[in-house]
Symmetry: C3
């Protein structure tokens, strides 16, 4: 009987060194890759003085920093405080939610700077970065935070880091296909961030399905204070979403318009969320989960179209619909997904990101297809859709078709990616007796009857925080 204990100790020692090793080696890799590839872009480089003269700029205020830095900081708050605290509603996973979100985002932004840099900012062998790259890196990591919401409480930090590496890579590829090859617009990332991130996470959680998880449901309850902490996350996401959707839009009217559209959509979404939350609950009480999540669906759903001439009332309509869809999703769809499709969606990202993301992609396609020179003005029309060079002759309806194709591509990438990650292989072995990944492996006989599954759920659920 000594042996298992011995093995357990060996496993503990192994575990103790694995997370540090992964973190250190990856960070060393980042330093080497940054050393080889990453340099300051022209607006952040000390040669800017000369650059300014060449570009005939008379003032430092023309530096992109002043156009985008306030929005960048708002996005930054959304990623770290918004997503982090939104997930603190479970009384047992508060630390894990905020802490692991912090870890994966801090790693993810570095890898995203590289991946997105190779695709979009690569000039004469170097990636030249500026504030827009920082925003895009935060966006990319946002899609990982979304996926994290589906698997919250079911993974170890190492699994999260592995997932981040995979997902950021695929995100950059998908983004390249959409923005560069299909030449579509998606400033607020309805497709690239929300649809992709959510379906990626849902595929991963499907693979991580553990039938016995319901036994630990008592840990999933919320308490008064955890709900107030979660409201901090909700409100920061809600307030700063106009910055999110406008952060990388074209200077001037496009940024301005994207903020207004998002503001309107979010406002309408709150009203329909409250309406349906009250209507679908017994006694007409409001459900805090709906208030915390469904109120944000309006921001997701104008992600693609916010910088277009969606108009304020168009935004209200989108928000109106999404508040309903998202709340109904929490009440009817989440239980269905778990019981029938074995998809345990801890934070309900299917309702907050997946469905609204799809709606956002569709709204974007329609808005693009309906664009006319009359509405946008001659120059505004070309600027809004970047119909220059190769794309000079593209018509709005063709653009709408490509936008729709972007949704399909994002979905396929998400399903394929989520399946490929295969987190169980990288996971913490539940008992220390089998090699990592064994117990959770799909198809292995006795998976659900493994005697140590329950212990595993507990140790993983509480994470290492």
């Amino acid at each position: 009987m000594e042996r298992p204990r011995h093995q357990g100790m060996a496993k503990n020692t192994y575990m103790r060194w694995r997370l540090p090793l992964v973190c250190l080696l990856w960070e060393v890799a980042m330093i080497i890759l940054f050393g080889v590839f990453v340099r300051f872009g022209p607006e952040a480089d000390a040669h800017w003085e000369e650059e300014k003269q060449e570009m005939n700029l008379t003032s430092d205020i023309e530096n992109d920093f002043y156009f985008r830095y306030p929005s960048f900081q708002d996005v930054h708050v959304m990623i770290f405080v918004g997503f982090g605290f939104l997930m603190t509603f479970l009384k047992r996973y508060g630390f894990g939610a905020v802490g692991f979100n912090f870890l994966l985002a801090a790693f993810g932004i570095q890898w995203a700077l590289l991946m997105q840099g190779w695709f979009h900012s690569f000039k004469s062998g170097k990636i030249l970065i500026g504030v827009e790259n920082l925003i895009n890196a935060d966006f990319c990591v946002g899609s990982v935070c979304i996926a994290f919401g589906a698997i919250l409480g079911k993974t170890s930090p190492i699994q999260l880091l592995i997932m981040t590496l995979f997902q950021v890579t695929l995100f950059a590829v998908n983004e390249y296909i959409l923005l560069n090859l299909l030449h579509i617009k998606d400033a607020g990332g309805s497709m690239t961030i929300h649809t992709f991130g959510a379906y990626f996470g849902l595929t991963v959680t499907r693979i991580l399905y553990r039938p016995n998880l319901e036994q630990s449901k008592d840990k999933q309850g919320s308490v008064y204070h955890s709900d107030l902490f979660a409201m901090i996350g909700t409100l920061y996401l809600w307030m700063y979403w106009p910055s999110f959707n406008s952060a990388i839009s074209e200077h001037g009217d496009a940024q301005h318009r994207a903020a207004i559209n998002t503001y309107c959509s979010l406002a309408a979404c709150v009203l329909t969320t409250v309406a349906f939350s009250s209507m679908l609950q017994k006694k007409g009480k409001l459900d805090m989960v709906h208030i915390q999540n469904a109120t944000l669906a309006g921001g997701v759903a104008v992600g693609t179209s916010a910088e277009m001439m969606l108009t304020p009332y168009g935004s209200l309509i989108v928000g109106f619909i999404c508040g309903i869809v998202s709340t109904v999703g929490y009440v009817y769809l989440t239980p269905f997904l778990e019981s029938r499709l074995h998809i345990q969606d801890t934070c309900g990202i299917h309702n907050l990101h997946a469905m609204p993301g799809l709606i956002g992609g569709i709204v974007g396609a329609i808005t693009a297809a309906a664009a006319t020179e009359d509405v946008y003005g001659k120059e505004g029309f070309i600027k809004a859709f970047d119909f220059t060079g190769t794309y000079r002759t593209r018509t709005p309806s063709v653009q709408g078709g490509f936008q729709a194709a972007g949704i399909v591509v994002s979905l396929l990438m998400a399903f394929a990616g989520g399946t490929l990650v295969d987190l169980p292989w990288w996971g913490q072995s539940p008992c220390g007796k089998h090699r990592p990944g064994w117990c959770f492996l799909r198809g292995v006989p006795g998976h659900s009857s493994c005697p140590c599954t329950r212990a595993a759920i507990q140790s993983l659920g509480e994470g290492q925080l």
Copy 2:
């Protein structure tokens, strides 16, 4: 004995549908009105490229978005996180405070965009909105959040929505009288937001007076964590108040000056709040309620004059006085108002908004009356008070008189408005036996002896959240 129960069920069904119906119908109304009236302003419209050429602007950075968006986001945080969390200090109303504040503000900003738009941004049949409209809508809703502070824990969400509809409407009328007819300055809204909002709320709470409320005083206590949550609200209001008072000032020096004056006033206010809180308490301990509220009075009281040449030491003096007035108010005036005037001011808005708002109006009138071309410069003088067109010949002392008149108008509008709303009629019936509004109706015999009052207090107090 079956009947009352049956009635109760009927009432429950009725209640269950009322909030959803109000939310949905009103949101539909918003969509229709936005569809008919609201369009993007020139700086948010895709025609901006042509507009720029007409206005001879060489850079996108001249778009009003870049002048005001960072301040807008700070104001946005104040309304949703600041006011929301400031009211979480009561251990039982934390959800209600944050959640209902969220609901009323999200509805209010839509109605405010319309009301203020008709008065100020109406051109050829359309309301043209930009970032300044978003700030003004947030401002308008701020006055509703203030009023909410007086009635916290005493109303249902429907009553709050009714109050929001009324108050936003009256706010816009009052603002139109002050800014357009009287041509007075009130950038930070000492009169339009704080004086109006606070006396409106105090009038409403006077009408909602329930003598038995003291029986539930055990629910009004604060606990350690609720006080820390409230400090989040306090600090965000305190930090971002310079943005609040400068958000809609003229570009350039006026915005800059407003931020500095507010920063100074708030800093001084903290010192006198601490001094008087310690002095007036037994054992010299500090009262968290004073720290949470009275420290903010300095921001309210420079609302009108912040963009004027109040000077940093003038701001310190205003903050110095307001910290004292507000703290003394919490210690002596709030109990007096409740016991003698039957005004139950849950959050003490009389001390934080009403009195400092009045002081702010008076300071503004004096600062305006004392203005000289010497202090402001020839051009600066005209720009600061917009002494152009019809008002070309107005003198500082006349301006001071009009500023003072603005205080009186705001007070009258608040009293009249608060009385007209008559929330009890819209309220939740306490027992389900009488029609809504019955038990709480002023002057009805037996009001305080209604056998179900106590149950009512409980059910309302806990709200629907």
Copy 3:
């Protein structure tokens, strides 16, 4: 036996009046000094219209307000919410941490505006202030907040105000020596803010050493919610640190670069903090104290060099090292400092600010010494180090030497200042029997055996909040 009680009452009365008197008298002094000295700078004055014409500026957007105000607000949040909430991790000092931090910062910024104004913005007998002065005042107070972290739970509010007065004064002198006399660069304050503030605080806590403090260790524990509150502080410091390090950099590329370098350093720091926290703990669990603090060390350590051409990978390396140094410090150095050197460092500022600050100074010196015209460009080189006028002929290696001298000066000023403050003299007498300062005085026989020390620890520990 009546007498001690009587004395106790006398002392209570005395205490009750002392804090209010200090607050009121000091605020009156501020008003008088502001009245004599402080006026609006040209960009905040109503004469700006004329100023603009003289400076040949065509747009209000050229006002410094628009270059710096968003960063100012981020810094403001760091000082009041960041530092305030970071210190709430102790379950008993949550109020004290946030409340006293609020008080000292609100007083400190006023005194800092004066002190720094006399040294840097004094023109024809007046201190002319603008947004940059507000940022600098916040920076100065930041160093006091850091020092507060070392003595948290050991001082009364009056002692904190005394310390603030001393430290702000010395900060301004030290800053003047470094920036003006030695002509060194320190935009993010690795030396002036962090090294100076931390060693000042550590010297003060050494003097306040109380051997019996360990008896009250049960009060120092953290609880679940206090750790989540502390994470709010951590995340806001982490997210806004790029704004901190870039807030007063030169317009244009320098601000842009400082933000990018800080972003990179902080990201790397999180990974090594997690690695070493997991490695050095039993069972490989993460320690929340490390996550809350060591993750920020990367921001401190690029404070001096962020605006230089440190390059993104250079920043990653600095962050990499600092995460390790800081975490190891928490595990091994903090206990050593307490047991051997009698330095009770409540929040571990030696690991978060002192060591990373020193590293930051050294990295700055090396980066400056390694600067070449090739890397910076001819104009960029002169602009980056302000090699104009008297300093036209200074070479990078000489600049590096001066930078290194700045570290030494900051250290000496901190040790001298911390010793001179001698807080115990100003303190609350632990028992009311001896005059203030008696029991805690260094070298007094029977210091540790004073019968009332324990009561003192309790009453002081809980503070007046």
